[in-house]
Point group: C2
Chain length 195, copies 2
Amino acid sequence: MPKLWNETIEAHRREVRDAILDGTASLAAEHGPLSVTMSQIAEKAGIGRATLYKYFPDVEAILHAWHAREIAGHLARLTEVLDSAEGPATRLESVLEAYALITHESHSHQDTDLGAFLHRDNGDHLAHAHQHLHHMVQHLLTDAAQAGNVRDDIPPNELTRYCLSALAAARTLPSEAAVRRLVTVTLAGVRPPQH
Amino acid sequence: MPKLWNETIEAHRREVRDAILDGTASLAAEHGPLSVTMSQIAEKAGIGRATLYKYFPDVEAILHAWHAREIAGHLARLTEVLDSAEGPATRLESVLEAYALITHESHSHQDTDLGAFLHRDNGDHLAHAHQHLHHMVQHLLTDAAQAGNVRDDIPPNELTRYCLSALAAARTLPSEAAVRRLVTVTLAGVRPPQH
């Protein structure tokens, strides 16, 4: 088969997969993850049940795949922000702000049945993503400390825990403006102390 | 009956109750909360099973009573710290440090089966205690802002969420020295910005 034909099939498969994940996430958010059926998902995605079963064995597998796609998307967004910012200070600020905004946006499903379900069953996946995030922020803090923008009297590992813990408050804040103020305060904490 | 006699009985009842709670907590930490029996608890507390049932109907009720006593103890300790410190800045620092140390100390049972059990079933109680803590810290931040020790360009409610969220990192820190550094960084975040 010519290469283009394979690529077309691959693109089609990805589209179907995305339609399944999107449909399931919206059904789960609406009715609760435990009451969604494979038939509802097939209908929502505009495919037959037989086709759906060629992609996923059950609802649980779909929810996990959706969650994994979400997390991968968040990490990709942070990496994009990281790559497009110039200089250690700006890079640190941009990534922490992007992380806080992501945390703020995804709070809506974190406090629901869906959130509880995903966190219980997808713990390893989340821990891995969090570790990735921790490394990214620790690297940024180390660079910024070397450039004199961040205090160097406290281990970067501890500053990283502080930053990520502080920014978790973005989940409970009512507006993006409040999230940006949280980022300002959090960053003020890591600046070199004034003598 | 003379008053002293009533007081003696009351003191005795409290001692027995404390012995039951202490014994249950240590058994639960050792064997897991779901495998502790009323017989084991009676033996550990040095009382008969019949006496134990006069105090509590089941293991679950004892674990909840123990947890409530822990939380009340923590709040009492914070109030004590608050009352013995002088001036808004010192008061804020002392209370945040005490809170961070409590968070650090109680991490040991928060990540266990016992912690999961208590957090699941005692959610309302915890939420109430957290609200109390939130009010206390918000009050301290407001006073300190009026005295010029804390920035007044961000609502105290948001600064409170920031502080408590940041200090939650104390749970994962390896030493008291690291916890004190976390408090330093967190407080640096709320100071009036340097122009």
